[in-house]
């Protein structure tokens, strides 16, 4: 009953957002200049949503999976049925082992032994949640008012010595197998990549759905591309956390309504933020902690975009298998799309 009320209020809100956003559709670039082209979500709204849109308790008080509960065996079979050709595509960026302007904390790789009979190596991720690694966030990564997903108190359950006793990446040991849908926003706009600072709205997502003929439904993975890697290949690296495109905070109710199980993206936010905006990563934090949607961050969707465009097919089977790291807040991953 509670859920139904929420959905209704969420769609009401969408109508409002849709009505306002139509007028400003052409001047999106202005978002980067500091004067917002469209209204910003206010702190009051954001706080209200923390109650109104919360999924805490929806799957019981002991739940640590969040919307992954929506991936049922039937859902997996439906995803498997999307495989028509037997072609696989990696959605991971190559591990960035060199320091660069967009990777201040690179992956540490070292040859351990190399002889005439064989070789071994070691991999280190000093900044697993940083820009140099495609990774899956666990619910132990972000806290809201001293609590993690589903209301677990941080103080008793996350310690420097032992890591996370609840909501760790180990909860996802058995992997994620579901339907993936690519939202290719540069393709929608007819550009190679979006300008940093571009806020992507629900209207954009729905315009893509009309153009591509696909829609995320409950239990799906929504993969959002804005062209971060194409821009890097064209212009070279830049301080990525200061200039990127991403979902506007107003998309939060839309994400709740669609009930996705996974949200994947190339960058976790848009930047710079206009004056008066919510703090950085507001949507990232809300989606992970309040909606209970796990995040695949810093993915590379360029190969996926090409494979999907070549087939004009924007849905596929997606598999993600984190390393089963007890007490860990995340894991490097190499998600695979299968067409």
């Amino acid at each position: 009953m509670r859920t139904r009320t929420l959905v209704v209020s969420a769609s009401g809100l969408m109508l409002v957002v849709g009505a306002i956003s139509g007028a400003a559709a052409r001047s999106q670039g202005a978002g980067a200049e500091g004067v917002p082209s469209r209204p910003l979500v206010t702190q009051a709204e954001y706080e209200r949503w923390q109650t109104e849109l919360s999924n805490w308790g929806r799957w019981g008080k002991d739940d640590e999976l969040g919307t992954l509960n929506l991936i049922t065996p039937a859902k997996r079979k439906q995803a498997a049925a999307l495989v028509k050709e037997g072609v696989t595509v990696s959605l991971s960026s190559d591990a960035a082992t060199e320091r660069s302007v967009d990777v201040p904390c690179p992956v540490e790789w070292a040859m351990l032994t190399a002889s005439q009979s064989g070789a071994t190596d070691r991999i280190g991720y000093p900044c697993i949640h940083g820009a140099g690694t495609t990774h899956l966030d666990s619910f132990a990564h972000v806290f809201f008012g001293g609590k993690m997903w589903n209301g677990y108190p941080v103080s008793a359950l996350v310690t420097k010595e032992a890591g996370a006793a609840k909501n760790s990446i180990l909860t996802m040991k058995n992997g994620i197998v579901t339907r993936g849908v690519l939202y290719d926003i540069p393709k929608l706009k007819g550009v190679s990549y979006l300008d940093p600072g571009t806020r992507i709205f629900a209207g954009d997502l729905e315009a893509w759905e009309r153009k591509a003929g696909v829609k995320v439904t409950a239990g799906d993975a929504l993969l959002l591309r804005w062209g971060r890697w194409t821009r890097r290949a064209t212009l070279g690296p830049w301080p990525i956390n200061e200039a990127m495109a991403g979902l506007d905070n107003s998309v939060i109710p839309w994400l709740k309504k669609r009930d996705i199980a996974i949200l994947g993206w190339e960058t976790p936010d848009y930047a710079p933020h206009p004056a008066g905006d919510l703090p950085p990563s507001s949507l990232h934090n809300f989606v992970l902690t309040i909606l209970g949607v796990h995040l695949v961050d810093r993915a590379d969707f360029d190969a996926l975009s090409q494979a999907a465009a070549a087939r004009n097919r924007w849905e596929f089977m997606l598999t993600i298998a984190p390393l089963p790291i007890p007490h860990g807040t995340g894991s490097p991953v190499n998600p695979i799309a299968v067409f």
Binding site: G118, D121, I123, G124, P324, P326, T329, N334
Partner: protein
């Protein structure tokens, strides 16, 4: 060489544990006669097998089979058609992991290098992050290998010279884990040798022979084919849970399975422990004969130190010993392998 040293280190660890762990030794004595007695005797056919092994070096080489520049070996046999036929094995929509939780403490089978280091970076009001480090070519971290992991006479699979191909700075240029970046999706065939023998686990050190594999095929009605992943189950984790960890003695693929692998040409051979049977009396001077045969001669890759307990439980319940398997390495340029968490989908 590295593996040589590692085994030496592990045996020292075992000795220490042996001294400390009186209780565990007593417990082992009840069912683990082979363990207590030390090295099992060499199989009667050891001399013949060693002679065969030297012949197979040339006979079973697949070098050049997929072109002089090939880096994928029998992974080439995972064609789109092969993927599609594997997809048809997904009937129940059940998915289980084939990896054990990463070892964060040293143990008999986790030496100091093999610990999966996890450190909490710091805890703020807004959240927390970790620092990870892993040398995954051990006995407990589920991982895949590459051609860069074992060499013979200065050459890697397909004749790539080691000298020009590997440096400490760049790692492995050809044959690295990047060749598998787009992931593996294929058919897995489970060889449930514990069930075949009617035991909870096979005792450490017992070689698994070609006859065992073929007896299982008769019993189960499934057979490994080109491009498959072979999963050998000996009940390693079930035994570890009851008896405690051990190393040095492994019930693994015996030398006489090499012709079987040559005939079947799986893309990967898998195991819930290290691939090679061990110890190997009579094989002095020839370390890791199975690793060498598959990774260097035949171009068959390895996915080992898996935890197959969940898959075995599910397969026995559903009476289905073939299923879809998928895994993908962390794409590290130059890497000699990768930790993985393979998924079995029934």
């Amino acid at each position: 060489m590295g593996r040589h040293l590692k085994f030496a280190g592990l045996s020292i660890g075992l000795i220490l544990i042996g001294v400390v762990g009186g209780f565990e030794l007593r417990a082992q004595g009840q069912t683990g006669a082979a363990t207590r007695a030390g090295a099992p005797p060499a199989p009667a056919d050891t001399a013949a097998m060693r002679a065969n092994y030297e012949r197979w070096r040339t006979e079973f080489k697949t070098w050049g089979k997929w072109g002089p520049d090939d880096n994928k070996g029998t992974t080439n046999l995972i064609t789109p058609q092969k993927v599609m036929s594997a997809m048809r094995l997904v009937k129940s929509g059940i998915v289980v992991s084939l990896a054990h939780p990463e070892p964060q403490q040293p143990a008999a089978d986790v030496n100091a290098n093999g610990v999966f280091h996890r450190t909490t970076n710091g805890i703020t009001a807004g959240g927390t992050t970790d620092n990870y480090q892993v040398s995954y070519h051990g006995l407990t971290v589920a991982h895949m290998d590459t051609w860069c992991h074992f060499f013979v006479d200065g050459q890697m699979y397909n004749g790539t010279p080691v000298k020009d191909n590997i440096t400490p700075e760049t790692g492995c240029k050809k044959g690295s884990v990047m060749n598998w970046k787009d992931g593996i999706v294929t058919r897995a065939v489970l060889y449930d040798i514990a069930q075949l023998k009617g035991v909870d686990w096979i005792e450490p050190g017992v070689p698994i022979t070609r006859a065992d594999l073929e007896a299982w095929e008769k019993k189960s009605g499934v057979k490994a084919e080109p491009g498959d992943v072979v999963l050998l189950y000996i009940g390693r984790w079930k035994r570890r849970e009851k008896m405690g960890p051990w190393a040095g003695q492994v019930s693994g693929y015996y030398a006489d399975t090499i012709p079987w692998m040559h005939e079947r040409l799986p893309a990967f051979i898998g195991h819930d422990f290290n691939i090679d049977w061990n110890p190997r009396p009579g094989w002095e001077g020839m370390p890791n004969p199975i690793h060498v045969a598959v990774l260097n001669w035949m171009g068959i890759n390895i996915v080992e130190c898996l935890d197959l307990e969940q898959a075995v439980t599910t397969a026995r319940r559903l009476k289905r010993y073939e299923f879809l398997i998928t895994f993908a390495p962390l794409p590290v340029e130059g890497g000699t392998g990768s930790p993985v968490n393979p998924l079995a989908i029934f």
